[in-house]
């Protein structure tokens, strides 16, 4: 198979996964996501000679750089990353108002947003992009053991933040129910929204 054919296959197989990767990290409209995704594949096309046998982690690595450039150029990078943890709660209260009151999204995202960006990214890649530790190393540009260590530390810090939130709010993560809890969550959502714009 030629390099061009391999690129075509990778594009067809992973276009939507790369789109989701960008959408999860870009607080933007669909067209903004498409714009960054187009840039990701343009860069990948220019570098197609480097395309590995399992291209998805490599494409995520390209996407990270493109995403950073795209939002940094507008002076929004830090702000957007800070807001990322509040993605759901700032989107019309989607999570909090969900009929599924047991969904812990807002809690976890709030806990995630309290971590350093490097920790957040390790956790996002592991859970949302479902990468193995080896693949994590490829995206982050480090070895397997370093990636495993970073994930281990990030998990511990996330756990600590979840415990802190639990103590502060006196609500069991994963066991919220009833109007009172929803009201609590709404308050948090509003606070998170403000924090995100701070």
């Amino acid at each position: 198979m030629s390099t061009d054919d391999a690129f075509d296959d990778a594009y067809r197989e992973h276009y939507w996964a790369v789109s989701r990767f960008v959408a999860r990290r870009l607080d933007g409209q669909s067209w903004e996501v498409e714009e960054v995704v187009a840039e990701v594949f343009s860069v990948a096309w220019r570098r197609r000679a480097e395309l590995p046998e399992s291209p998805l982690p490599w494409l995520y690595g390209v996407a990270r750089h493109c995403l950073a450039n795209a939002v940094r150029g507008k002076g929004r990078y830090r702000r957007l990353l800070a807001k990322l943890g509040h993605y759901e709660v700032t989107r019309e209260g989607r999570t909090v108002a969900s009929p599924d009151a047991e969904r812990p999204g807002s809690w976890v995202l709030e806990a995630l947003s309290r971590l350093a960006e490097a920790d957040q990214e390790v956790l996002r890649l592991t859970t949302w992009e479902e990468l193995t530790v080896e693949e994590l190393g490829i995206v982050l540009g480090c070895g397997r053991s370093a990636a495993a260590m970073r994930l281990h530390r990030a998990r511990r810090r996330l756990r600590e933040q979840i415990e802190t939130l639990r103590r502060d709010d006196r609500v069991s993560v994963g066991c919220t129910s009833g109007e009172g809890d929803r009201a609590h969550s709404s308050d948090r959502a509003e606070k998170a929204h403000k924090d995100g714009h701070a």
Partner: protein
């Protein structure tokens, strides 16, 4: 207690199962992006210098054109009447017979099938009696899936002027932003292009192909101009594989009166081998072929006699199609 990673997985804000970024076959926009990736089309023989000179010359007509389009600053208008492509004869020219031979060899080495669907850029003038013609550039992409579903997408673009507004057809013509979707059709499974010309698979062999083309373009089996016109429209429906490419170039080589024109750099900067054919009453065709495998890159039609009523003069481009895939 639930694992913190499980909690985070559940909080995934962008699902692979629902929403705009869910897993599914590529949509029209994604297909278009794949086809438009930079330097996808034969960058190794790009001759930018020639394209720039074409653009510079074309710029002179922009002002005149803009006056026909309401409310548009002249400097921002992308579309202008394309100048005819220029062919340069040289010792390195490849004969049509040699291109046929190469195409046959390529087909023997890799006898891939033709693919239903096409990707091309076209220009055509909108002409009204007593008014200057307005050139309407557009890019068209049609794709079909194995289940017979498909889509046809038409976008306003002019590769000579990326990023600038493009003129769209309509009463009266007006400028639209580059990339505007002019039309987008989606076809459910089972349609399989049945509503298009050339919906049957093309046969193998030059004579069989000529007869096939004549089914939809009567006269293609007798009149060279009709044959060229049939090839032009066939290529907007099908992307030929190596065998079909060889058959097409074989048919072209059999046209009486077709003459070598020289090397041509087209409007995408691709370099090909040009061949001219003049037909009554007033048309001249320039067919640009890839000298390596016989692929048709461009077909341009110019007028050989002025027509004052429509304000066209001898040598003006009347239609132009550049085949991208």
């Amino acid at each position: 207690m639930t694992d913190e990673l499980d909690l985070l997985r559940e909080a995934n804000p962008v699902s692979a199962d629902t929403g705009p970024w869910r897993d599914r076959p590529l949509n029209a926009r994604a297909e278009l992006l794949l086809r438009q990736l930079p330097s996808r089309d034969r960058g190794r023989r790009t001759v930018r210098r020639v394209v720039w000179s074409l653009e510079a010359a074309a710029a002179a007509t922009v002002l005149a054109l803009a006056l026909t389009v309401s409310g548009t600053p002249s400097s921002a208008v992308a579309a202008s009447r394309p100048l005819p492509l220029v062919a340069h004869a040289s010792r390195a020219d490849v004969s049509l017979a040699e291109i046929v031979r190469r195409a046959r060899t390529a087909a023997e080495e890799s006898p891939g099938k033709s693919e239903r669907g096409s990707h091309f850029q076209s220009w055509a003038p909108s002409m009204k009696s007593g008014e200057d013609p307005v050139t309407l550039p557009r890019e068209s992409l049609t794709r079909w899936n194995a289940d017979g579903s498909g889509f046809a997408l038409e976008v306003a673009t002019d590769p000579r002027h990326p990023g600038r507004p493009v003129i769209e057809d309509g009463p009266p013509p007006r400028t639209v932003h580059e990339g505007k979707v002019l039309s987008e059709e989606r076809y459910p499974p089972g349609i399989n292009s049945a509503n298009q010309d050339y919906f049957e698979d093309p046969p193998a062999g030059a004579s069989a192909l000529r007869a096939y083309l004549a089914v939809w373009s009567p006269g293609a089996d007798r009149d060279p101009a009709e044959l060229l016109s049939a090839v032009q429209s066939f290529l907007t429906v099908w992307t030929p594989g190596p065998r079909q490419r060889a058959d097409i170039v074989t048919l072209l080589s059999g046209i009486e009166g077709i003459r070598p024109a020289g090397t041509v750099a087209d409007r995408f900067g691709r370099e090909g081998q040009g061949f001219r054919f003049t037909s009554a009453p007033a048309s001249r065709y320039l067919i640009v072929l890839d000298p390596d495998d016989g692929r048709v890159l461009d077909i341009e039609e110019t007028i050989t006699k002025a027509d004052p009523e429509y304000r066209v003069k001898a040598g003006d481009v009347m239609s132009y199609t550049a085949y991208i895939s």
